[in-house]
């Protein structure tokens, strides 16, 4: 094994003296995030700032030869510890590798590097009258990593979550793989899916465990000139689900979020509200923070009188006026006929949540970051069919009661995902237990919910987070074994973000 000095010297030879460091202050900055309960903090041995793929290639070759773990980090903003070097090694900080290599209006594509953030991409695309599929995550996240791990988008219910056309991956061996247009030289451009097996899917959904993705070409769409945010209340969740299914099958909504709301009459103060409404309350709390206590109580009473048992909210984005108005009319008619009440105006004035998203929905932004205000954001997120929403919801409530947590203490929210086959819905149960107060309680609660979900049957986890992986492995059968084989093929020395996916 090389000594630490010689490794540092080699790294500095590759990226320059300023680019590589093993000073403790630098290492500390990369050692943890708020998900410490499930991903224990760990300092890397080295931090390297890279600027281009040749540097990455040399570093990977070095790491592969001496079995040094490598953790690729685009901006590191995932609050789920995906970039914490749990086995030490090198953190490959690609924040400065943030060029938008090309935006092509005629091709409606953008070719970006890992460090490009969602806000940066949205701003640049706007100059061409275009827009990427904007993530609902804060705009400081790396758009690159968000597409790689398939995030949530304001176009989730009409465009789905696959927005990568082709990408370039550096394997630990130093080889560079081109997916999608299968890299036939000379190619007409790294844009679209070419023939033969498409490898793009293989390297998606995996936090840098198969190789370092250094470049990707993503889909753009015309800037949505028209945006309409809606919020409907339902008292009958079954009718609501039926109406949602009908609307999704008509291929109308751009984003559709749904969920049940806790019993509003129990709300007295803002703290009740925050506890009951969970994530949705953050921005409200901010809006109400200036008003006096009784103003707040008055606002709570107003809302309690109006709030439904279940809600459907979201937006419609389109660039053609008459098609846009047709969608609005059809969606409203479908929901109203199913017993929905249009609460948009009331919600806009009282709580405001959902509507603080309005300009984000059109052009991206960071309103969603308000979810982080409590200092912890722990959520169990998975994909399942919408028609089993009630079963999943009931399960979470039962487990909460079992651990004497308030069953109404959190919201099971769902976002419908195009192309809607299998009623594929993103379902998230935000867990409002503060890990600092009751770490063990949260761990037990999460473990039990994960086991129950797997027993009840889900389509798959939203992402391979640490708290879901081990329970899933035994149930993955031959597919799990096959993924291990693929991992051994691309990363025989298991240096790529080890311990983060399968092994």
């Amino acid at each position: 094994m090389l000594s630490e000095e010689s490794i540092l010297k080699t790294l500095q030879h590759i990226v320059g003296v300023e680019g590589a460091t093993n000073d403790t202050p630098d290492l500390i900055a990369y050692s943890r995030d708020q998900n410490w309960l499930f991903v224990p903090p760990q300092k890397p041995d080295f931090v390297v700032k890279v600027r281009d793929k040749n540097q990455i290639r040399e570093i990977l070759r070095l790491a592969n030869r001496y079995k040094l773990p490598v953790v690729p980090l685009a901006t590191g903003v995932n609050v789920r510890g995906l970039c914490i070097p749990t086995q030490g090694g090198i953190v490959l900080d690609m924040r400065e590798m943030n060029q938008i290599l090309e935006i092509s209006p005629s091709m409606m594509t953008a070719t970006i590097q890992p460090g490009v953030t969602a806000g940066q991409l949205s701003v640049e695309c706007m100059k061409y009258g275009l827009s990427p599929n904007n993530t609902s995550a804060p705009d400081t996240v790396s758009a690159f990593a968000n597409y790689l791990l398939r995030g949530l988008y304001f176009t989730h219910s009409s465009e789905g979550d696959d927005h990568i056309l082709s990408m370039e991956i550096v394997l630990p061996s130093g080889e560079i793989i081109k997916t999608g247009s299968s890299g036939i030289k000379p190619t007409a451009g790294p844009y679209a899916r070419g023939g033969g097996p498409n490898l793009t899917g293989l390297f998606q959904g995996v936090p840098g465990a198969f190789g370092v993705v250094t470049e990707m070409t993503v889909k753009l769409r015309p800037y949505p000139k028209h945006v309409w945010v809606y919020f409907f209340g339902f008292d009958d969740i079954d009718k609501e689900i039926e109406a949602i299914d009908e609307v999704m099958k008509l291929k109308i909504p751009t984003q559709l979020t749904m969920g049940t709301l806790p019993d509003m009459s129990k709300m007295r103060s803002l703290d009740d509200f925050t506890a009951l409404m969970g994530l949705m309350a953050e921005r409200m709390e901010q809006n109400l923070s200036e008003s006096s206590a009784d103003q707040v109580a008055e606002r709570m009473k107003q809302m309690a009188a109006v709030f439904p048992k279940a809600f459907v909210g979201g937006c419609i984005l389109d660039d053609f006026k008459d098609r846009f108005t047709l969608y609005k009319k059809t969606l409203r008619k479908t929901f109203m006929e199913a017993g929905g009440r249009d609460l948009s105006s009331i919600i806009k004035t009282t709580g405001g949540f959902f509507f603080f998203y309005e300009d984000d929905m059109q052009s991206g932004g960071r309103a969603d970051a308000t979810m982080l205000r409590r200092g912890y954001y722990h959520a169990l997120a998975f994909y399942g069919p919408l028609n089993r929403y009630k079963e999943y919801d009931q399960m979470f409530k039962d487990v909460a009661v079992k651990h004497d947590l308030d069953p109404e203490g959190a919201l099971l929210g769902g976002i419908t995902c195009a192309p809607w086959h299998g009623q594929q819905t993103y379902l998230e149960r935000s867990v409002l237990v503060d890990p600092n107060e009751n770490p063990e309680g949260l761990k037990i609660y999460t473990k039990e919910c994960v086991e129950n979900l797997l027993d009840m049957g889900i389509y798959g986890w939203f992402r391979p987070y640490a708290d879901t992986l081990d329970a899933t492995l035994e149930r993955w059968g031959a597919t799990g074994e096959f993924l291990k084989k693929i991992k051994m093929l691309v990363d025989p020395n298991s240096i790529m973000n080890p311990g983060r996916f399968i092994f």
């Binding site: 202050p25 630098d26 700032k49 590191g76 900080d93 924040r95 701003v123 804060p138 982080l372 205000r373």
Partner: protein, 402 residues
Amino acid sequence: MDLEDWHDVASSCMHCRICVNPEFHEVGGWVPICPRGNKFKMETFYAPGTFELIRAIIEGELTENSPKLQKAVYSCTMCGACSALCEIYSAPGAKVKRMGKTFVDMYIDLRTEMMKRGWGPLEPHNAILKNIANTDNAWGGTRGDRERWAKGLGAKDLNKESADVLYFAGCTATYDPKLKGMMTTAAEIFNRAGVDWGILGKNEKCCAGPSLRIGDRDQFKAYAEENIELFKKSGVKTIVTSCAGCYSTFVKEYPEVADMSHIKVVHVSEFISRLLKSGDITFSKEVPMKVTYHDPCHIGRYCGVYDAPRDILGLVPGIELREMMQNRQNSWCCGAGAGMKTALPDVASETGVRRVKQAEATGAEVLVSSCPFCAQNLTDSIKEADSELKFMDLTQIVAMAL
């Protein structure tokens, strides 16, 4: 506060990096906002990195000093931008806001802890502290020179007489000959408006803001107590200062040392704006100039004084004010803050040059601000960037229009 008291805030950083770039809708582009991080790039030099450093120091994970630690801690201009952004969106900002504080308070306590452990400050900082201790000002200027600028400008000597307004010039403006105009114009305006004002002259001491921001809490406490005594003794109701640093120190730090509630502290831009509104002074001459205004962090982000300077410029006939891309709470720091100009001049210069470039981009001929530190650094930066821009203090513009 002690550093330990910040443990909860420090360990609740979500690493969401909202503090690294301002909201692009407001700014119209994806731009950096943290001078230190933008220059050194490593995460240690951004707020999330600093939070982890503080947590590591408190928890004993980081037990010995190192040049990298010093560089990380002392290259921060304390411009407060990260705090302003985090406050809106994320956890540490929300907690700090509930405490009525900002990240700057934490960074100050970090430097106090560094000094306590003998891990800092840097040599040039010690020179500043020594100057303040010996000559009551950071520049080593003699007490005698304190009042030289005011000779023949009709300023009462508040050590003996009494007046409504105490004009606190501030060391930097007093001892930097290039900035003399800031005070003389202020005096001219007071007289023109018939304001009953005076100065402390020789007895005017440094507000000790720099000592606090370098980490010498004791020196700051001593000077703060003396100054507050002096202010009470002078019996004035209002203190007006041209120096943004003094202004923020009087408004935010002094109340924690001793009761200051009986005295109202007003920045010169606020005072002039009030005089204009009350009609005590009016503009008569045309000032056909294209200008852009730089918000000094200590009056802007620290205290929310954004509109007064713009109201003034708005009333100046013939002037055209063009906003820079990054303005108000999203302003880019001039680079001089927290002893940067003396200790890490490369940070000050690089930050200043970037601000000059932003000013040029507006097509303005003159870059205006209202803080002696910004004045010094931006003037130097204009030279370094050999830009055709001219720097003028707000009061100089007012003088031209009177």
